[in-house]
Amino acid sequence: MQRSHLSFWAASLALSCVPVMAQKTASQGIDEYRAMLQDGNPSELFEAKGEDLWKQKRGPKNTSLEKCDLGKSPGVVKGAFVELPRFFADTGRVQDLESRLLSCMEILQGFNAADIAKTGFGKGEQNNVTALATWIAAESKDMRFNLSQSHPQEKTFYEVGKRLFFQRGGPHDFACASCHGEDGKRIRLQDLPNLTKNPGDGVGFAAWPAYRVSNGQMWGMQQRLNDCYRQQRFPYPGFASDATIALGVYLGVNSKGSASIAPAIKR
């Protein structure tokens, strides 16, 4: 860990040598910068924390999460991430990774899921949910997305997610599709994936949770969607709300067959 931490900072310092990148396109430069960072992705720290949290006896019931069913059967972590969101019979809901973790923390450990959902990002138990999500995602690294659409609610959530994706609103009339509806576009210098179809391996839904270098934070998909909506000038989407889960179904199903690189590293 010590070594990778050092190489991370070395890579950050290398960024100040911008003229070196001058002949390349900005996008190539950014790609190289990301590749350098892969050497020491700080998400490893969150993975380690998440694995500990999974096995640790915690909460009012002093129990671990080792019997948590992420979809493949209780305790099975590998391969679960690339099949989420999916329908869960015990809660009667379609759930993404983070909302499913809330259910497990409530049912197995006795935490209050609604309280955690209300807690701001980067605070209290929210940090633990992010670390858990990071480790669980990492356990499915390089596996291909394969979300189920066999339950009627999974199909319904896809259709609802699609409608939310195209829903224009707010002072700017922005929808998710305003930025992510066409191939080969960018905002300023940032390339934008077209999320109305499969954007490819490790792009869009297949990249989160991710470590964000610009603010030094680990973000789960819930926080990624939250910040998209913030920039869209939309109101605040509730953590683990049906809207965010439905969007996850839409993006996840569209990514079918693409390899997950989560936890990724982002600018």
């Binding site: 829903q167 224009r168 700017h172 300023r188 909506y229 939309f234 109101p235 605040y236």
Partner: protein
Amino acid sequence: MNQKTSWTLVALAAVVVAGCATGPSVTELNELARQVAKTSFRDEGIVKADQVLNADETSRLCSEADVAGKPLDEVTAKRVEETNFKAIKWPSDGKYLGDWKQGETIAQSGRGLTFTDDAKTVNGGNCYNCHQIDQKEISFGTIGPSLYNYGKIRGVTDPNSAAAKPIVEYTWGKIWNSKAYNACSNMPRAGHMGILNEAQVRHVVALLLDPNSPVNK
């Protein structure tokens, strides 16, 4: 998880049961998406959930067309454009051009109106997020067309001349309400929706049309 969520679930279950054989209809799905949005979003800071989720007819029709993957039919598109055109507020003193330098600052800024902004934030135009404008700025987006040489290409040498009038008016109108010219344009309606005020629109028009603006060099 909470009362709101369980209510949505009841509605969802009802739709699923009702549509068991064939799945829910388009109308049912539209209504369900509306309910899901209503229960999922909340007010935060200066952003009011009701205002955003109850978008006007223009946004609603364009969203539905996008979901269907088909553009608006010609008659509807024309009607939407006419409605938006009628809503354009032309400059109160007849002055279309302000200061291009201030226009550049407005074009650079993407600030304002998010749930982490306060009401005192001066809104930006977000222009460079989607358009190339001054060639010196290499950090520009590509969602909209390049606006470099905007006035020059259109032959505007004197924005106050009669010959330039149609372009000057179109430029004002497009910035004020983009949907007056293209019903489902990706471009915000900067004046119409109160993102930019009249003075700011004037500055942005100058950035595009003033022969002294770097855009036209």
